[in-house]
Subunit: 144 residues, 2 copies
């Protein structure tokens, strides 16, 4: 299949606050006050976890349809942890990004354990966000 692309444009309005356009949609990224922000929106890490949740929803429904069952309820809690030392410029061996992301998925559907396991394994490998977050990707940055 041909590759498809997705894009956003963004403009800084404050050291922590950024306005983002994605097609006709507008988002505000900020930091909570205790992290020096104005709390006008979720922070970047929360947006990344929201992306993962949204992807599990879309992929989960697609895979359920293929496996021939209906999802009655689908909800998730996602938690990511990291050491902020490198971000803050302090000496550390730790990376700056998430060291672990835990996803708890609650699925209600009339299916057995084997189908449940097939479903979650397919979702993990086919969701573009979990694949990108799990395996990483090539990022090219141009400063103009």
């Amino acid at each position: 299949m041909a590759k498809v692309s997705f894009g956003v444009s963004a403009r800084s309005h404050h050291p922590t606050r950024l306005e983002v356009s994605a097609r006709e949609h507008r988002l505000v990224v900020d930091e909570p006050e205790k992290l020096g922000g104005t709390d006008a929106g979720p922070n970047p890490l929360e947006y990344m976890l929201a992306a993962l949740a949204g992807c599990i929803n879309v992929t989960g429904h697609l895979v359920a349809k293929e496996l021939g069952f209906e999802i009655r309820e689908l909800s998730m809690d996602i938690m990511g942890e990291l050491n902020p030392a490198r971000f803050m410029g302090r000496p550390t061996e730790d990376r700056s990004g998430f060291t672990l992301v835990k996803v708890e998925v609650r699925l209600e559907a009339d299916i057995g354990e084997e189908t449940r396991q097939n479903w979650i394994e397919s979702v993990e490998s086919r969701c573009p966000i979990s694949d990108t977050m799990g395996a990483g990707t090539s990022i090219e940055v141009f400063l103009v």
Copy 2:
């Protein structure tokens, strides 16, 4: 430094539409109509690119302060491309996630070329989102 954690909770309202809570903030993730959604919000891939933009803003201002210059203007265009075949369950050698993410950063500040290069290199390595997207992380999924 002690690890810190960030989290979201999410509930599906439609095969493509998900409501996400991040502290007191609420987000809606959806897909455009041409991808089978109701277009009530950006899609998961756009949210991930927004997270990267927000992180470059926060990290960019932090690093500028350390390097002793003021950012007059900061804006970005970010594009990610992928092959949707694996997501759609079609035979392919390609991964499901982004195969390339291109970030164009426009920085206005009274600094020379060397400082500009130092700034962008520090931002890339210290931004938790670019580190997670670039190198990947461990994702543990629990189905309950």
